[in-house]
């Protein structure tokens, strides 16, 4: 049979080892110095959050009233607050709270947003209309205002702040996934999956969902940064973590009386928030470049 065996031109030369799409994204992520620095900062805070209790020089709540509002020194690197507690220790412990709120609120919004977005995008029609209008309504409120409203309904606590932040971020993810699903369901591999007799639900979860994940990962990383700020804002407003908890936003709020005399009570928690958020943002930008198909050479 003429032409049955493929010509050499039909066979792509493959020297390097098999690399999946995620592997390639990782390679291009590594190339960006800024992204790696961001990832480094994030990793640093994650490690701090995990081993916090063992490295913190003092406990969260060890008060030492004679030592209140001490300036930074060798004994207390970041100084002490109005109750004589070591600020460094509190920031180390606080990392756990902030990251916890950041990760879990975003995971919550990603899961809820994905389900709603997929259903809206794939089934369309009135389902889409209803879900999209709810998203529109939620996005019409300034997000922090919505979060405050949710917390005032649920009652102020760290857990409720987390729930509130998760809820206000749902429409962002929902819309993102919906638009991605809309474009992916027109792809030919979806038609060809149908043509081999695959079920709708299987197509949704094994073909459409994995292919919609790249922008969600990027948005998710950036959203962790926003969630941390929002948690701090709610803490600052007294709607988040409760009194003795070393939540960074709460620490900022408590420091406002001593702004002039003891600025370190404000500066260090502020820097902690700023650094974490910066880390996530840099990492998110790097991921966006790595996962954006247009950036591929």
């Amino acid at each position: 049979m003429v032409g049955f065996a493929p010509k050499p031109s039909d066979v792509v030369a493959q020297q390097d080892k098999v690399a999946g799409p995620w592997h390639e994204a990782w390679r291009s992520f590594k190339k960006s110095k800024v992204a790696v620095v961001g990832a480094g900062i994030v990793l640093f805070f994650i490690i701090v959050a995990f081993i916090g209790p063992w490295i913190a020089p003092q406990g969260i709540n060890e008060q030492n009233l004679p030592n209140r509002l001490q300036a930074p020194s060798f004994d207390h690197w970041f100084g002490t607050d109005d109750m004589g507690r070591d600020i460094l220790s509190r920031i180390i412990h606080g990392a756990r709270i902030s990251l916890w709120v950041g990760f879990f609120s975003v995971i919550g919004s990603v899961i809820a947003g994905s389900i709603l977005g997929i259903v809206a995008g794939y089934y369309g029609k009135w389902v889409d209309a209803i879900i999209s209008r709810i998203f529109d309504i939620m996005l019409a409120f300034p997000s922090i205002l919505l979060a405050i409203a949710v917390v005032s309904v649920l009652g102020p606590s760290l857990q409720n702040a987390l729930i509130a932040i998760a809820i206000i971020n749902i429409p962002n993810f929902g819309r993102l996934i919906r638009s991605k699903v809309l474009s992916i369901k027109e792809e030919e591999y979806i038609t060809s999956a149908k043509a081999i007799g695959m079920q709708d639900i299987r197509i949704l979860f094994s073909h459409i969902l994995p292919n919609s994940m790249a922008p969600v990962i990027v948005q998710g990383t950036l959203a962790i940064a926003t969630a941390i700020i929002e948690a701090a804002a709610l803490g600052f407003l007294g709607l988040g973590a409760e009194a003795p908890a070393p939540e960074w936003g709460k620490m900022l709020a408590d420091s406002k009386m001593y702004l002039i005399n003891a600025p370190w009570t404000m500066i260090f928690p502020g820097i902690a928030i700023m650094l974490t958020v910066l880390g996530f943002n840099l990492m998110g930008d790097g991921l966006r470049d790595a996962l954006d198909p247009r950036m591929k050479s």
Binding site: M1, V2, G3, F4, A5, P6, K7, S9, D10, V11, V12, Q14, V18, A19, G20, P21, E187, E188, Y189, T191, S192, A193, K194, A195, I196, G197, M198, Q199, S206, H207, P210, N211
Partner: protein, 339 residues
């Protein structure tokens, strides 16, 4: 010519799209059948309803706005338009499979070739183990002429060239031994040498596995090389049908003649290449008369008022043109000749 059993019969199929501008009949009352182990070509310009026909058979017409509004599609004794979703899923891939125009986008970029092939197998072969499926996948990759099938199983679509991907698509379509393979412009996106290889492969598999092929194309060269019978479509209707030799040697419908004249021919290279004036009318825009009348050089009064039937002009040749109205061969003769 030995008569083969028709395995896929399309009878009076009508597929319409319900849009804001009204109902557009993309496929309007077409009849044809695919016989066991044959290669049937459907030819026509863009927008004449070829792809909608194939999607209708697969039950994959995008709905809304599309819908099959009339007619029957018979696979053996199964009426495909009447099947439930679940029954239809069983037909797809198992009885009738399809490959598409764009091999570059027909494979999911996130999964390996092996992964996708095995998925296609395990959908229909419920009791199979992964090992069996993997062995079958390797066997299919080898069958479609891909070298180092074992390694390919672990590779991703982006690592393959267009021709290789189309081979993978063919392997995937044939993995469950379908009776009919619908190929919707399978070579349009490939360059000419690869085109020839893929066509040769399809023809070879058609002979070896006895899979009937419904080849949809706009390329008459492809038809001449691969098909046994040809159906020419124009504006949602069949305008001519017959064996490939007679269509090429003795085209009857003015549209088919026009199509054949617009193929470049080295013997007449001094002459300007012929082109049929005008465009395919928007489906549904021509309601009275022959749909080709506006572009036809032979059109007369009757053509503008009545739509011709498909006239049987020879035992196995049909034409939708008033020029052949009087030459119609009665179907009685046909049965005599064929029996």
């Amino acid at each position: 010519m030995s008569e083969r059993k028709a395995i896929l019969q399309v009878k009076g199929l009508q597929t319409s799209f319900f849009t804001d501008d009204g109902v557009i009949p993309a496929v309007d009352n077409i009849d044809f059948s695919v016989h066991e182990g044959e290669v049937l070509g459907i030819v026509g310009e863009s927008g004449c309803g070829k792809s909608v026909t194939s999607l209708s058979i697969m039950g994959l017409v995008p709905s809304p706005p599309g819908k099959i509004t009339g007619g029957k599609i018979l696979f053996g004794d199964k009426e495909l338009t009447k099947l439930s979703d679940k029954e239809m899923r069983n037909v797809r891939g198992n009885d009738v499979a399809m490959i598409f125009q764009e091999p570059m986008t027909s494979l999911n970029p996130l999964f390996t070739i092996g992964n996708q092939l095995m998925e296609a197998i395990l959908i229909h072969k419920k009791g199979w183990s992964k090992k069996q499926a993997s062995a079958r996948a390797v066997e299919m990759l080898t069958l479609v002429g891909l070298p180092r099938a074992d390694e390919l199983m672990k590779e991703y679509p982006h690592q393959l060239s267009g021709g290789m991907r189309q081979r993978v698509m063919i392997a995937m379509a044939l993995v469950c031994d379908p009776k009919v393979l619908i190929a919707d412009e399978p070579t349009t996106a490939l360059d000419v040498t690869i085109q020839a290889q893929i066509l040769a492969l399809m023809k070879d598999l058609n002979e070896r596995l006895n899979t009937a092929v419904l080849l949809i194309t706009h390329d008459l060269g492809v038809v001449a090389e691969t098909c046994e019978r040809v159906v020419v479509m124009y504006a949602g209707q069949i305008v001519e049908e017959g064996p490939v030799q007679t269509i090429f040697k003795d085209p009857q419908h003015p549209y088919t003649k026009g199509l054949l004249q617009s193929v470049p021919d080295m013997r007449y290279k001094k002459q300007r290449l012929y082109s049929i004036p005008g465009n395919v009318p928007k489906p549904g825009s021509v309601n009275t008369g022959c749909r080709f009348a506006a572009r036809c050089e032979f059109a007369f009064d009757k053509c503008l008022t009545q739509n011709p039937d498909l006239y049987q002009t020879a035992t196995v040749h049909k034409t939708r043109c008033f020029l052949y109205e009087d030459q119609e061969v009665s179907t009685h003769d046909r049965t005599l000749v064929e029996s």
